[in-house]
Subunit: 317 residues, 2 copies
Amino acid sequence: MTKNAIGIDLGGTYTKLALVDSKGKIKHRSRLSTTDYDSRDSLLEAIACEIRALIQKAGLTPGNIEGIGIGVPGLVDFNRGLVYGLTNVRGWKNTPLKLLLERKLKIPVLVDNDVNIMALGECKFGAGRGARNAVCITLGTGVGGGIIIDGSLYRGATFSAGEVGHMPLKEDGLACNCGGYGCLERYVGNRHIASEMKSAIRAGRAPGVKAMVKGDLSSVTPEIVSKAARKGDKAAIALWEKIGGRIGTTLSGIVNLLNPEMIIIGGGVADAGEPLFRPVRRTVKRRSMRIPGRAVKILKAKLGNDAGMIGAAALFF
Amino acid sequence: MTKNAIGIDLGGTYTKLALVDSKGKIKHRSRLSTTDYDSRDSLLEAIACEIRALIQKAGLTPGNIEGIGIGVPGLVDFNRGLVYGLTNVRGWKNTPLKLLLERKLKIPVLVDNDVNIMALGECKFGAGRGARNAVCITLGTGVGGGIIIDGSLYRGATFSAGEVGHMPLKEDGLACNCGGYGCLERYVGNRHIASEMKSAIRAGRAPGVKAMVKGDLSSVTPEIVSKAARKGDKAAIALWEKIGGRIGTTLSGIVNLLNPEMIIIGGGVADAGEPLFRPVRRTVKRRSMRIPGRAVKILKAKLGNDAGMIGAAALFF
């Protein structure tokens, strides 16, 4: 018999909610504009209302719901369901989110970091369906990751495991927001991709991309680079080669360390597709050891914007 | 009630055997010279004899023994107890070691890679006693590692997890035996340490170490460098700073990725002690993220040459 849970993806812009069944299928969904709420408590009350509405819409009662899973953009104490703070959402410092929602709804609540949740969703119901050991990375402004071991999320000693973006790519290197230096994120994050393309345009090496943005360097983004690469633009393809080589270098270390069945790559930058995935795969093959290098599959994430909701619900399946 | 198991550390020079109790204490031990046996089967027969003798010496019967654990220097299929091949021991290609010994002795047998076994021993009964999540690395000719997750060895999809020595230290870099390049091992393995010191001597930058080896560069080893550093030799201390910084760089990536409670460092090179551990700890603190960087303890392995036997027996506890 299929079971049901609520999955919530709390983001800086939208808070997305869904009633998800134990096959990973979204049965009902809704969405709040996170920025519409001027306090944490008013947002929480709105979330509780939406949850009740979803359960009713499905013709169920709170007793039929396994639980409510929530992914948030920040550091979390998973055991206590405590949010230490959120990126881009104010007023959430040290919020006992599990406790507050359980009090309102009398349904079990689990809270985790959004990248962990996405990794769980992709491994249970997305590109990694059935994988026992997998690493999931997200490429965007930041570079995050989640680790699945023996079919469950691995969270580490203080719930901060999975920071693939802050593994050193370079022995020396540029200072990173995290306080370290030479981190992968510093060389493959959104801003860095845009800035490398801008430099190429300024140096006259990317006339095609320059034409696409009508000379307006401020509108150069990874999406533009992807679009240009799809059209066959040489400078754009060369940039993805470089970015993919860097990601592949760090991933080859992860392959040798963790010997995962698969690595799933998601996030906006992953939409670059083959121009990015080709150099990633080639570099992993070239740098990693024979046996783990052959064993690992490198796949694009499948669930897109639904990964957060599906993964959050999957905490209960 | 304490239980008992046999732990065996099969090495290229010696095969060490012990009867170990479930508190990690060695009660009886013996040793064979691996090279005395001209075939795999004669070595296996000798091992079986030694096991019977150990059990008798302890006043036990095969029925009182939980099992026989064996660590071997090579790649193993843990589930099947199959040895794919051994480094420095001939004639072991595709040996069904578990099957062969179980037939001889009618006691359950488990076979694993020697670095995994050492990691398990250190985590259960050595420096990491009680750790749930830990990484153990060994520094020597090669640089190996074992990963403990939730109190058990994590082996990966094809039993090859833990290859810390083959995580890339440099984005580009020297070719490595593994087929990759820029690997940590290539910059901190025994041979590299000796060769950097030899270069320093040739360049006239290490007169103290040169005097210690009486000008004979061929006798420069990591042990000599350790000895010189303990005496306060500046060139030796500077070399350990460099080596420690490199190890710390790779470990900071592991700290951010796995958020382990502790990292245990063993193997001959670890005997360099504080001149090596200081820069390792400093680099990890400087490069890794605040929360996992504060949480992790970096410790020296404690069990020394007994780690293999104790860890192998620990497969049954």
